[in-house]
Amino acid sequence: AQSVAQPEDQVNVAEGNPLTVKCTYSVSGNPYLFWYVQYPNRGLQFLLKYITGDNLVKGSYGFEAEFNKSQTSFHLKKPSALVSDSALYFCAVRDVPYSARQLTFGSGTQLTVLP
């Protein structure tokens, strides 16, 4: 079985400060990890994914994520937060590379960037 945990329901950060949204996972095989963002009243938008290789993955809108196998984590980061980054963020995982149906989502973290 596979699972994803987003331990923080809410993260607040001041504009200009670095932000981190945490994600830990549990899979039986190799993890394939994704981050999505959801703006109010909108669908999910893909930010980035980790398949293999470099542990630091760069994505859209200046976001990056660091894969840490020993800690089974895939935290989302941005060096300098913008008010427009305020949104709901979802981490997702699967342990089968070629089966999109097996994707498991976390419960989401609401990020608020304060001006």
Binding site: G43, F90, A100
Partner: protein
């Protein structure tokens, strides 16, 4: 850009009604999905389709059915709507399973059953 379009942003239906949620994608994706999003629960897969007329149950299929008569269109059907089906419904599509592909989502339909 991939576009996944859901026919309604907001719907209000009465208990017992038959409800149709429509989704169309323009990228010729083989895979299409219906998810339900509830606060604190994340996204849960209702049904999945990997080809025309093909479907598989997801994690929470009870009370729902789907139809995929054309590759670009995937419909979710609530046979007899109930108040516990009040939720945000998200449609998604992706390339076939041979790729480590991300899913592309529609804007969501917020359904209220009264």
């Amino acid at each position: 850009d991939v576009k996944v379009t859901q026919s309604s942003r907001y719907l209000v239906k009465r208990t017992g009604e038959k409800v149709f949620l429509e989704c169309v994608q323009d990228m010729d994706h083989e895979n299409m999905f219906w998810y339900r999003q509830d606060p604190g629960l994340g996204l849960r897969l209702i049904y999945f389709s990997y080809d025309v007329k093909m479907k598989e149950k997801g994690d929470i299929p009870e009370g729902y059915s789907v139809s995929r008569e054309k590759k670009e269109r995937f419909s979710l059907i609530l046979e007899s709507a109930s108040t516990n089906q009040t939720s945000m419904y998200l449609c998604a599509s992706s390339f076939p399973d041979r790729a480590v592909a991300e899913a592309f989502f529609g804007q969501g339909t917020r359904l209220t059953v009264v």
